[in-house]
């Protein structure tokens, strides 16, 4: 991190033509990441972007950093090897709902459990795009697709809740259409030391167009989305007239007015684990708005820093290679 020259978005754009379908949500995510990276204070030779397979996983080709487009689902494992080999690098994983939640589910939970310092951006479009339109592990039940003509039968994963179950230390969500929000969340995730997980709701305009329209259409979004801010009451609605209170162990929507005031609302504290769990569980509850923002963050030692500590401790003993090779029971033949 020796670079002092201020980089710009252009510095992070590679010379390759971007090949996503016109209108794909991935374009704005790419642009927002390219805009955010120059402000992270990290020089581009110290950034590695790793991906798996899927539309989103073409991402590294378009970033003028070090990049690795690996194999399906394995990006967190490749990225783990990169980070553990050189902890000075800023490591980013770009993945999708099929890549991270289905074929790569195992790596996803284990990297979170280990808390290796990297940033995972999951582009969730609730559909398989690259294979042309099968339902994904985040598709809603009953999804009619090429592979499920009578509707899908499996219940969807809720990625932030899964991240919670895997002991994630930074869990957040944003939406492709909310550019500023996305930029902020990406920057916050970069600051977090440990595995940060950001779910980005992303529209696939070819195979699942409008999947998030209730969260993005100007007329309705304010009533359906709640943007969480640390230290602020959980307020939402076009007129900022609705909020969340705790009714027993559950959230309940109330109207600000005669019965409730702003002071009655829950104040968001991303360090509160119980609250974080409740927030991530809101996603599929039809009576509650869909949360975006930082659900939860926690300071916890990272695997990579502990690995370095162990190595440094072991190095206190000066052992030479020849004596290891000789072993404890050697003999000489004259």
């Amino acid at each position: 991190m020796t670079e002092t020259i201020q980089l710009t978005k252009k510095d992070f754009s590679s010379d390759q033509d971007v090949r996503w379908c016109p209108g794909c949500g991935d374009y704005v995510i790419l642009a927002q990441v390219q805009k955010t990276f120059p402000n992270l204070g990290i020089s581009k030779e110290n950034i590695v972007v790793v991906s798996g397979i899927g539309c989103s996983s073409r991402f590294p080709y378009y970033m003028n950093t070090y990049g690795f487009h690996s194999i399906h689902g394995r990006a967190p494992a490749v990225a783990s090897g990169v980070k553990l080999s050189n902890p000075d690098l800023s490591v980013w994983v770009i993945t999708g709902d099929g890549d991270a939640m289905s074929i790569g589910g195992n790596h996803f939970i284990h990297v979170l459990r280990r808390n290796i310092d990297m940033n995972i951006l999951l582009f969730n479009n609730r559909i398989y795009g690259l294979t042309k339109g099968q339902y994904s592990p985040t598709s809603e039940v009953g999804k009619i697709t090429k592979s499920t003509p009578m509707g899908s039968l499996d219940h969807p994963f809720n990625p932030p809740a899964l991240a919670f179950g895997a002991s994630g230390t930074f869990i957040a969500r944003t939406i492709d259409k909310e550019l500023k929000h996305m930029g902020n969340i990406v920057a916050e995730s970069a600051k977090h030391i440990g595995t940060s997980f950001v779910e980005i709701y992303q529209n696939c305009n070819i195979f699942n167009d409008g999947a998030f329209s209730n969260l993005t259409d100007r007329e309705v979004k304010s009533d359906n989305v709640i943007a969480l801010e640390e230290g602020l009451p959980m307020l939402f609605g076009k007129e900022k007239d609705k909020g969340l209170i705790l009714d027993g162990p559950n959230f309940k929507v109330v109207n600000i007015g005669s019965d409730y005031s702003i002071d009655d609302l829950i104040v968001h504290n991303p360090k509160d684990r119980n609250l974080g769990l409740l927030i991530s569980e809101m996603t599929y509850d039809e009576n509650l708005p869909v949360p975006i923002g930082i659900f939860y963050k926690e300071d916890k030692p990272t695997y990579d820093s502990m690995m370095i500590d162990q190595i440094n401790k072991a190095k206190e003993k000066d052992i030479d290679l020849q004596s290891i090779i000789k072993g404890s029971n050697s003999w000489n033949v004259k």
């Binding site: 390759q16 110290n46 990049g67 494992a77 783990s80 020849q322 090779i325 050697s330």
Partner: protein
């Protein structure tokens, strides 16, 4: 108490008992002691896949065999001179391998009606004179003698009984005129916080030794003279130890960080265990969540400028297949170690086999050639792990190193090297801020591409599993480019033949029969060929360590013999490769029993081929 001593040249012994009887430890102790004494030796541990198979059963028998002697030893031996049977099941499983008039040492305390039934004996074989007629039998109530000797120690009955293996070891030490000190040192170290356990075990060991000295039954002890070695520094080494040390040396002597990503699997896990102890050298070991994460993390490490290594056995290598392809198309240096075991599927986890050669050669999608090298014995593992690392970084290519269960767990004396004299690797690092850097620009001699490592300025680039354009490495779907790159990946492997040693023949460089082997069959084939040569037969031996590519001179050598015989512990995999490559009518000899060839069996096959 008169004691006669007679001298033998070569002896084969086997400790056998229940899998909870500590036979592996006993055998390991005897072999370390034997090595330090100065005999050449070779060992064959054999144990069930279950950690504690039901006690007393036939399938729960664990054994440790070794051959040692005053001349060169290449195998763990065929027929036994001495069999130690700690229970009826062990006797039943192993007694037929004992030579006539061989020494049979039995722990009679375990010959209870229950154990006899579990071993499927109708009658107690100890009551039958048949054993005594065929073998020299020493019947000892080892458990009760040990319990009696330890009666004053505050140990539980179970703890006392568990020292019985030390009694057997002590008896064998006496039989072969050995010093017990190596084992006493070992026990002091192993149980350093449990002084009572040390006392118990040392006492049991001495009780066994003195029992041999005292009792009238054993009239002769055997002295096996020291073997003649070339001068140098030696130690005893197991195959997996050799691999771990070879990787460590490759890393340390060439100033390249070692990253090992792996998932536990028999019989490869010991490599992970050993490397995890070398943190003081900066070695990073990563016990991944699965086999795929094991190799992909190692690929990530290779991308980041480290020596990336993963190790597994057949089933794990199958899972890694797609990732090996990724390492091949991204042209990253990677060492992939397969400690082969019996297959298919879970197969025989603790038994040896050579049936993953096809997997190594062809087991991936697409045209996906991989460098394949193989270790021939425990003491060869160090060199081949070092070689695999060298080829990987010098040629920017994944290298598959094949070992097997026999090599991995077997041990033999090793003349270890002076680390200062190990060859230094030639790296292909890209120069920081180089003008017009192209990730797929190649070294004209090796065709290796440049290694551009994250953190270095001006070398930012992207690689991945999609086909690469020549030179730039950008994604390319161009038909001619794909054809060209496919050829280059093959050529890159083929060209390595210029950078590996020629094959050498043991014996005459032409003649009637050439026996070609690879991997852990080295000892059996060599012993058989030496014996055949001593009998004047026209036979030579060639053992391949480099399989893809083959050494350049292999085709020429093959032409110098009338017949080619290829014994393998598979259905004829090297045979198929050699027949295809050299259009030669080579014949196979194949056995898939989960155990090494005996040298007698190879000797008979050699004779038969020379008669036909």
């Amino acid at each position: 108490m008169s004691k006669n001593s007679s001298s033998s040249e070569v002896v084969t012994i086997r400790f056998s008992g229940d899998s909870g009887d500590g036979m592996q430890l006993t055998g390991g102790q005897f072999s370390d002691n034997t090595a330090i004494f100065g005999n050449d030796l070779n060992t064959l541990p054999d144990f069930p896949a279950e950690i504690r198979a039901p006690q007393g059963t036939l399938y729960g028998v664990s054994s440790f065999q070794m051959q040692f002697g005053s001349r060169n030893i290449y195998t763990a031996g065929d027929d036994l001179d001495v069999l130690v049977a700690m229970n009826p099941a062990a006797l039943k499983v192993h007694v037929d391998d004992l030579k006539e008039h061989g020494l049979l040492i039995i722990n009679t305390d375990n010959f209870t009606p229950k154990n006899l039934k579990l071993a499927k004996y109708e009658e107690n074989p100890l009551d039958d004179s048949a054993l005594d007629k065929k073998y020299r039998v020493i019947k000892v109530g080892m458990t009760s003698l040990v319990t009696e000797a330890l009666k004053d120690l505050e140990l539980t009955a179970k703890e006392k009984a568990r020292s019985t293996n030390m009694f057997a070891l002590g008896l064998l030490y006496w039989l072969y005129e050995r010093d017990m000190q190596t084992t006493i040192n070992f026990l002091n170290k192993k149980f350093k916080n449990k002084p009572l356990i040390i006392d118990g075990n040392v006492k049991a060991l001495k009780t066994g030794f003195y029992y041999g000295e005292t009792i009238e039954v054993v009239k002769t002890t055997y002295r096996v003279d020291r073997a003649k070695y070339e001068s140098g520094e030696y130690r005893n080494i197991m195959g997996n130890q050799g691999i771990a040390l070879g990787l460590l040396a490759a890393s340390h002597c060439n100033d390249i960080g070692l990253f090992f990503g792996g998932y536990p699997i028999t019989p490869a896990s010991d490599i992970l265990h050993m490397l995890s102890n070398y943190k003081s050298f900066g070695v990073k070991t990563f016990q991944a969540e699965d086999e795929i994460a094991g190799i992909t993390s190692a690929i990530g490490a290779a991308f980041s400028g480290r020596l990336g290594v993963t190790a597994s056995s057949g089933p794990g290598i199958a899972l890694k297949g797609e990732a090996i392809g990724l390492a091949i198309i991204t042209e990253l240096p990677l060492v992939i170690i397969n400690i082969q075991r019996g297959g298919p599927s879970t197969g025989l986890p603790t038994k040896t086999e050579q049936s993953d050669l096809f997997q190594a050669m062809y087991g991936r999608n697409g045209e996906c050639p991989c460098v394949v090298v193989s270790a021939t014995s425990p003491s060869d593992c160090f060199e081949m792990a070092y070689e695999a690392s060298r080829i990987a970084v010098e040629h920017m290519i994944p290298v598959l190193l094949l070992s097997d269960g026999y090599i991995a767990n077997g041990s033999e004396p090793w003349k270890y090297p002076d680390v200062k004299e190990l060859p230094k690797f030639k790296f292909n690092y890209a120069v920081e801020n180089s003008e017009d850097f192209n990730p797929y620009e190649r070294n004209p001699e090796t065709l290796a591409r440049k290694w551009a490592i994250p953190g270095f300025k001006g070398l930012e680039h992207r690689i991945g599993g999609l086909e690469k354009a020549d030179k730039t490495g950008n994604v390319s779907y161009d038909p001619d480019n794909h054809h060209l790159m496919t050829q280059k990946r093959q050529e890159k492997v083929d060209i390595i033949a210029n950078f590996i040693p020629d094959a050498t023949v043991l014996g005459k460089t032409s003649g009637k029969l050439l026996v070609i082997g690879w991997g852990g069959t080295f000892g059996s084939i060599k012993s058989a060929v030496v014996k055949a040569q001593e009998e004047g037969l026209s036979v030579s031996h060639l053992h391949l360590k480099y399989i893809n590519p083959f050494p350049k001179n292999l085709g020429e050598i093959i032409l110098n013999y009338d017949k080619i015989l290829i014994p393998e512990l598979n259905m004829g995999q090297l045979l198929t490769v050699i027949r295809a490559k050299y259009l030669v009518d080579a014949q196979g000899y194949n056995s898939i029993k989960g155990k090494p060839f005996s040298s007698n069996e190879i000797f008979e096959v050699i004779k038969k081929h020379l008669e036909d």
